[in-house]
């Protein structure tokens, strides 16, 4: 027993050093003050938290949550059919599709995002094409809109949704579908009553990954959203790097971390069936 405890000490050390300690530092800083040069002042204050309740920040906060939820939903809606198709394709086709989905990871993320600028801007590929074939007379305003940010987010995070759903579909026992059919279920009802509940865990994993990543992403907003769309993570970044107001940035970070945890918890509760809870009760 003692020996096995000793074996996990590297993990504990790693977690303490790289996760718990930095988090603790952020929490501590969020209660400190700063002088006019941006240096930290050792004191205890709740001012940084109070500042958050300014309507400006609250608005951005809700925008961030809304955009993250919307991104997650769109990712689920696009990824599920795609993952379903891949999981049901032949082995060779499966490999090719999975390759397509992972290839973007090999290319620098900034380059991929700037590529969207080339596509979306006024003289960009999409607008030129639409004008050439005469569908529109004036270029559409696509870049630097909320829509562009949403598009960028969905594009960036879709693999995080497709892969977990694909895995859960792959792991599902196909005999269950035969059993459903044997018991009189049409293909659609078998999907609804068997496949969907059986792959909820994949959707759950994917959703948490996409939601958290979207909420924390500021590069896409910077590049595709321009100055008008700002997310909480952009403000946090500005507080730490531009405004040199670490305590306020830290307070926003803490608020957003707590928000994420609460939302993920609620989401899990909503999606989780009695069956999964019964499993945990036993473990």
């Amino acid at each position: 027993m003692k020996k096995t405890k000793w074996l996990i000490s590297p993990v504990v050390l790693w977690l303490s050093l790289f996760l718990i300690l930095p988090m603790a530092i952020v929490v501590v800083i969020s209660f400190l003050g700063r002088d006019e040069f941006g240096n930290l002042v050792i004191q205890f204050s709740l001012d940084n938290y109070a500042r958050f309740f300014d309507s400006l920040y609250l608005g951005i906060y809700w925008d961030t949550i809304a955009l993250s939820v919307l991104t997650t939903l769109i990712c689920v809606l696009i990824s599920y059919p795609l993952a379903y198709y891949i999981a049901n394709a032949g082995p060779t086709r499966q490999k090719i599709w999975l390759l397509f989905i992972t290839v973007p990871f090999w290319i620098n993320f900034l380059i991929r995002t700037y590529a969207w600028v080339l596509l979306l801007r006024s003289q960009g590929v999409v607008n030129s094409f639409l004008m050439d074939i005469g569908i529109i007379d004036e270029p559409l305003k696509m870049l630097y809109t909320k829509g562009a940010v949403l598009l960028g987010m969905v594009y960036t995070f879709i693999p995080y949704m497709v892969l977990p759903i694909y895995v859960s579909l792959e792991q599902m026992d196909r005999k269950l579908l035969e059993a459903a059919s044997d018991l009189g279920a049409s293909r659609w009802r078998a999907f609804w009553h068997i496949t969907l509940p059986q792959t909820k865990s994949g959707m759950m994993t994917g959703s948490v990954l996409v939601f958290v990543s979207t909420a924390g992403m500021y590069v896409v907003t910077d590049i595709l959203g321009g100055s008008k769309s700002t997310m909480l993570s952009n403000i946090i970044q500005t507080q730490f790097l531009g405004a040199r107001d670490w305590p306020f940035g830290a307070a926003l970070s803490v608020i957003f971390a707590i928000t994420s945890l609460v939302l993920i918890y609620l989401f899990n509760m909503a999606l989780r069936s009695r069956h999964e809870r019964s499993k945990e009760g036993r473990a």
Partner: protein, 325 residues
């Protein structure tokens, strides 16, 4: 009254013939077993009856209606899967209810049928459990309850006891047989276990290499095997070759006689003596044929046999069962 008729069906997978042309009639209310080694095509036949496979050639009739093209969910029969295929996210009750819900049976009758299926399979205390909370034997019962709640005309069972240990299997064999009698519906049972087939079936279809070797009652098959495969697959048998024919004699029909009695049909040397409690067995190597035969002696046999002893092997002509050339 035929319940299921397979008319000249044939099944090919990727250019290979897994079921050679065959016809089979299954009667209403009988317990019919498809018996054979793995890969003999028995499961494929069951899956064709269930509707998960289409015969490459031929037709399937269920209760007089051609169901060859009918998808599985429209056929009035149910399958008990080899590894049960219970829905993991549903309780025992919900699993049983599934088929009734799919058939849009009204709530009151659903409840009644679930209750009945649960009672028949003795699952009452487990109704609210999930499959992962059940033992193998209990899961097996749920699979049967889920199928019979639909009141199918035919119940198909694909090695339903294969994953259970021997003792449990024996108990469930008796229970299944009992259940079939009380429900009075047709059972089509697939197994590779000849003892199981002998114990439960009204009729057995012995299959080998995608072909039917013999169809008959357990007694017919044991006493009058028609092919070498049927003779040796069910029970122990001794096969003799004579100029123009081949015949089999069961060990209990062979007699061991002392060498000095010259009238014995064959002679040999005792190679081994096996005690099995109620019977003794002599393994005798024949002098003129390169085979070893096994002879059952009952407990009344008082002779003292010894390994290496020369003896005669004799039998009645009537006990010879011709199994071809």
């Amino acid at each position: 009254m035929p319940m299921i008729q397979l008319m000249n069906i044939e099944k090919h997978f990727a250019g290979q013939t897994v079921v050679h042309p065959l016809s089979l009639t299954i009667r209403e209310g009988e317990f019919l077993t498809l018996l054979g080694p793995s890969g003999c095509g028995k499961t494929t036949i069951l899956r064709m009856i269930a509707g998960f496979e289409q015969p490459t050639v031929g037709e399937i009739f269920l209760d007089g209606k051609d169901v060859t093209e009918l998808p599985a969910n429209k056929r009035d029969l149910n399958l008990v899967f080899q590894h049960y295929a219970l829905f993991p996210h549903m309780t025992v009750e919900q699993n049983i209810q599934f088929g009734l819900k799919m058939k849009k049976i009204d709530a009151a009758e659903q409840k009644e049928r679930i209750g009945e299926a649960i009672r028949l399979t003795q699952l009452t205390p487990l109704a609210k459990r999930y499959p992962h909370q059940l033992s193998g034997g209990q899961q097996q019962r749920v699979a049967i309850a889920r199928a019979i709640a639909n009141k199918p005309r035919v119940l198909l069972l694909d090695e339903p006891l294969g994953a259970l240990d021997l003792q449990l299997r024996k108990n469930l064999q008796a229970e299944l047989k009992q259940l079939q009698r009380s429900l009075g519906i047709t059972f089509v049972y697939v197994t590779h276990d000849q003892e199981e087939a002998m114990m439960m079936s009204d009729r057995i279809v012995i299959m080998n290499n995608g072909k039917i070797e013999q169809i008959g009652t357990p007694k017919e098959i044991y006493n009058r095997p028609q092919t070498l495969f049927a003779a040796t697959f069910i029970g122990e048998n001794n096969v003799f070759h004579e100029a123009e024919r081949m015949f089999a004699i069961r060990p209990e029909k062979l007699k061991a006689v002392r060498d000095r009695e010259q009238k014995a049909k064959r002679k040999g040397i005792i190679q081994d003596i096996v005690y099995l409690g109620n019977v003794h067995k002599l393994m005798v190597h024949l002098n003129d044929e390169q085979t070893t035969v096994s002879i059952c002696l009952d407990f009344t046999d008082e002779d003292e046999w010894q390994i290496g002893q020369h003896i005669g092997v004799d039998w009645f002509d009537a006990d010879e069962v011709n199994i071809g050339l």
